[in-house]
């Protein structure tokens, strides 16, 4: 068996080391790697590993709790759906000076050691503008053949919303409660993309309630006359409050999507 075949078989079995190495192949954005990636896709096809995952994008303000939340959601999902495998791909910013990065999202996520159905991978943004790296797209294309759900955490907020929309079946914008005198949530551009909003850290009390209403108003203002206004989920990644609602939302849209047949994205 060729080395590539071995990697592919291991990855399909969700064996972490071959899987991690296969991801590395898909991170390789050099022109020379194209053929090898194509061979890997062909091998995956041959093993019946077709794209199947529901891809969810999580974007939002820095520090709003995206990583903590995504980690909790993934673990909870794996517990809820006994057969579901979930991959998390988390993008961290690279230094423009050195090209290096601190892949800090991982710090927030603690999957049980040895659990194959949960896989976490960090990725540097690689001096790209926006919230994703050059390798994000290819890696997601790989992971969606191996997992039932792929969660992508982007870097902060900015142009990433538009990019993530191309990549994900459903995009969540994660926000945290605002301090007292901040009224306006944010500029219209960003508010237009997400399918749903998550107001995280709702364990902090009064500020969370105020913020919910402010957010509702901001969305109505940014997206006037929408038939079904986007939902706002109130969560706490610490207490677990509201997480099941987000997962229900994900599941509901997964069935809709599956019923409609997968669209080419």
């Amino acid at each position: 068996m060729s080395e590539l075949d071995q990697l592919v078989e291991g990855a399909i079995a969700l064996d972490k080391w071959p899987l991690a190495r296969l991801v590395r192949l898909f991170e390789d954005t050099r022109p020379g790697a194209v053929a090898e990636k194509a061979a890997a896709i062909a091998a995956l096809e041959a093993h019946g590993a077709a794209p199947r995952a529901m891809v969810a994008g999580f974007t939002g303000t820095p520090g709003s709790g995206k990583s903590t939340l995504v980690g909790q959601l993934a673990a909870r999902l794996a517990a809820r759906e006994a057969a579901a495998a979930v991959a998390v791909l988390a993008i961290d910013p690279s230094s423009h000076r050195s090209g290096g990065s601190i892949l800090g999202d991982r710090t927030r996520v603690h999957f049980p050691v040895g659990e194959r159905r949960l896989f976490f991978r960090s990725q540097p943004s690689d001096r790209e503008l926006g919230g994703m790296g050059r390798a994000t797209y290819p890696v997601v294309r790989l992971l969606e053949r191996l997992f039932d759900y792929v969660f992508v955490e982007t870097v902060g907020i900015g142009q990433s919303e538009v990019e993530i929309e191309r990549l994900a079946d459903r995009v969540y914008l994660v926000l945290q409660p605002l301090g007292g005198d901040q009224v306006q949530f944010m500029k219209a551009g960003i508010m237009e993309v997400p399918h749903a909003f998550i107001l995280n850290k709702c364990d902090v009390g009064a500020a969370a309630r105020r913020s919910y209403h402010a957010l509702r108003a901001s969305i109505d203002f940014a997206r006037p006359g929408e038939a079904a206004p986007p939902p706002i989920f109130r969560t706490s990644a610490i207490s677990g409050e509201g997480l099941d609602d987000v997962l229900d939302d994900l599941a509901a849209h997964r069935s809709v999507r599956d019923a409609a047949g997968r669209q080419a994205r």
Binding site: D28, G99, G100, S101, I102, G104, S122
Partner: protein, 685 residues
């Protein structure tokens, strides 16, 4: 001749350079308490050490606990096993505590315990021993360190989330107020902050904001009647650092004294000046003590001791000194004796204790002190605006400030701007005769003692009354859940012979566990030398050659909380063009292996300063092998790694070893790049 009592006479003239007692008679000060931070191997071995130290003239005890005891694991827990007795004494049950203090009357001793997350438990054990011996519990005198904020920021032996941790502290104050009136329930520490890089202004601000946080918590809980609140304020004591810039440090102490007086008066309305006193103990700086030319450390320690003794107004209450071989290993008894002698010479041979404050009226000292006070006030205001100390911990603000200061410090050492004699200047020297003895100047823990500890634990478990144990734990859990004070239930646990692990696990179940922010994100070095550029160039070349950027997992396995080295390496690696995964301290070897595997790391860099490097490195390398990545991901190790162990570590498979002597970060990074390049050359992708 006139005497002070002669009526009708003018009062006798007081000389400004003399000290007078309440009756106007000339007097001299009594010395501060001499302490030596000590404990290792087992309760029995540590007891022998304490008795020897007391006989040698030490006047108080300062107990060092091992890491399992500090983080709430019994010695027989898998996480504990590599660490039992390594850096302090293991205490599993009240019987260990009996053994530790055998032959030492508790009511006459002043005992300081460096214990934090499990402070309530250790105090319960101490009280339990006194009760079982029939000693008067009200006479117990001493301190439990019990400062959780600085654990999150610098020291690393936290267990529970901030809210629960602050509750434990508050309950100890509430309990001690009536039951142990001479006990300092906690000790606000700035010592560890300086060891983690804090500047004098940061030390002042973070520690004072911390004290405010504790007092506000106690006040808001309302369990202490308002009229007794000043008594609580009066019991707050501090544990401060004294660095090599000894004049600035002395001014820092004066600033502490003045700011605390101000805060206790204005914020808490304390009328009695005695209750507004800034009472503090000191350990002098160890971060600046070097592996190179270690004999120089003796001078550093002396100078640092001056910083906290020269100014009478800001003189410490208790002092403990590290030893000349601080960067090599735990001190041997002789090393501790040498440091104790320094204190005795300072207090008894010199004239230090004969004068009033010798800096009063100095324009220079006053101005410097005022500047520090101003900087500290600004920073305290910033922390308050963020919602206070707890919010500033949780948001990661304080930790990232410390990592930044540490990054600046190591950058200055690298560039030569900060001179460290023997390290970056005057590095050529004659070999030190201190290192040529049979033991190489190094202390080795007797591993056989671990067996004794485990046997003692097993014996207690076999002989105790299981029903009483269960009842005691149930009562503890019930108090934890309902908000009742947990002190009495903890004492009952102690008497029932509950173990350290059982006590902590019960509270873990109720409160959960916490991991604070690492503070490394967004940090950089302040070095842009040609050599840094060269490592970056090699990183780019690596990207071209392999299609990915070199990726390092910096791992802190085990219970070791020394994060400085790992943080500095993480920051330096990013600065030199690596992608870096660093998930903070206290991970299991399995967790580190899983990170490296999932991230397809090019190298794992372990940082271990707890003395357990052989066990932990072996576990990581075995884990990699089990996952099929044994030959693919090289492992390097840094920290306090005695020369004697280098060979064994290499035999286990460590590709490179780094010690404090490797302060030149461009060089360290270049050596890591060597390993990564060699590996990429050896294997495929």
């Amino acid at each position: 001749m006139t005497s002070p009592t002669d009526p009708g006479q003018a009062p006798p003239q007081r000389l400004p350079h003399r000290l007078y007692d309440a009756d106007g008679n000339p007097t001299t000060d009594r010395p501060w308490i001499f302490r030596t931070y000590a404990g290792h191997s087992s309760a029995a071995a540590s007891n022998a050490l304490y008795r020897k130290n007391l006989a040698a003239g030490q006047t108080g005890l300062s107990v060092a606990f091992d890491l399992p005891t500090q983080t709430g694991y019994s010695s027989d827990h898998p996480l504990a096993l590599p660490e039992v007795g390594k850096v302090g004494v293991p205490i599993n049950t009240i019987d260990d505590m009996h053994q530790l203090f055998e032959g030492i009357p508790l009511a006459e001793m002043n005992t300081s315990m460096t214990i934090n997350a499990t402070a309530m438990w250790l105090l319960a054990l101490y009280i339990g021993v006194a009760r079982e011996r029939g000693e008067d519990v009200r006479k117990l005198q001493g301190t439990t360190q019990n400062d959780i904020i600085k654990e999150y920021l610098a020291r690393g032996t936290y267990i529970f989330p901030p809210e629960a941790s602050l509750r434990l502290i508050a309950e100890m104050y509430e309990y001690c107020l009536d039951n142990l009136p001479k006990w300092n329930a906690s000790n606000i520490c700035s010592y560890h902050l300086q060891e983690a890089g804090a500047t004098p202004a940061q030390e002042l601000a973070f520690a004072l904001a911390n004290a405010i946080g504790v007092l506000d918590t106690i006040r808001e809980r309302g369990a202490v009647p308002p009229e007794r609140f000043p008594d609580v304020v009066g019991r707050i004591s501090f544990f401060v650092n004294s660095g090599i810039r000894f004049i600035e440090e002395m001014c820092k102490m004066r600033a502490f004294v003045e700011l605390w007086d101000e805060i206790t008066r204005d914020r808490y309305g304390v009328q009695d000046p005695k209750q507004r006193l800034f009472r503090y103990g000191v350990q002098v700086n160890s971060l600046g003590l070097t592996e190179q030319q270690p004999e120089n450390n003796a001078w550093r320690i002396l100078i640092e001791a001056l910083g906290v003794t020269l100014s009478r107004k800001a003189r410490c209450r208790a002092l403990q000194l590290p030893a000349w071989n601080e960067a090599l290993s735990l001190p041997r008894p002789w090393d501790q004796q040498w440091s104790l002698r320094l204190q005795q010479i300072l207090a008894y041979e010199t004239d230090l204790l004969e004068y009033p404050d010798i800096f009063d009226g100095s324009v220079v000292i006053e101005s410097k002190t005022e500047e520090l006070k101003r900087q500290a006030r600004e920073e305290i205001a910033r922390i308050e605006a963020m919602g206070g100390i707890r919010a500033a911990v949780e948001s990661g603000y304080l930790k990232s400030q410390l990592v930044r200061s540490m990054s600046e410090r190591v950058s200055k050492i690298n560039s030569g701007e900060l001179v460290i004699v023997g390290v970056n200047r005057w590095t050529e020297g004659l070999p030190s005769p201190l290192l040529t003895g049979e033991d190489g100047g190094i202390f080795k823990v007797d591993e056989a003692e671990t067996r004794r500890t485990l046997e003692a634990l097993a014996a207690v478990k076999a002989n105790r009354d299981p029903a009483r144990v269960q009842a005691a734990l149930a009562a503890l859990e019930e108090a934890a859940r309902t908000g009742k004070n947990m002190m009495e239930p903890s004492i009952e646990c102690a008497l029932a012979r509950v173990t350290t692990g059982e006590w902590a696990d019960t509270l873990r179940r109720v409160f959960g566990e916490y991991r604070p922010p690492t503070g490394v994100e967004g940090q950089r070095l302040y070095v842009d030398s040609d050599r840094v550029a060269e490592v970056r160039r090699r990183a780019e070349e690596f990207v071209r050659r392999t299609g990915h950027r070199p990726r390092i997992v910096v791992g802190k396995p085990g219970l070791d909380g020394h994060s400085n080295g790992a943080e500095v390496i993480a920051v330096a690696a990013r600065h030199c063009g690596f992608d870096v995964v660093y998930s903070g301290i206290r991970l299991t070897p399995e967790e580190i292996v899983q990170s490296a595997i999932e991230e397809a790391a090019d190298v794992i860099g372990l940082s271990i300063l707890s003395g357990s490097h052989l066990d932990l490195t072996r576990q990581v390398i075995e884990g990699l092998r089990a996952a099929g990545a044994g030959d693919a991901i090289p492992v390097i190790v840094g920290g306090i790694i005695p020369k004697d162990d280098h060979e064994a570590l290499r035999a286990l498979g460590a590709r490179q070893i780094f010690t404090p002597a490797d302060f030149d970060l461009a060089d360290v990074m270049s050596r890591i790049m060597d390993v990564v390049e060699a590996q990429a050359g050896a294997g495929a992708r």
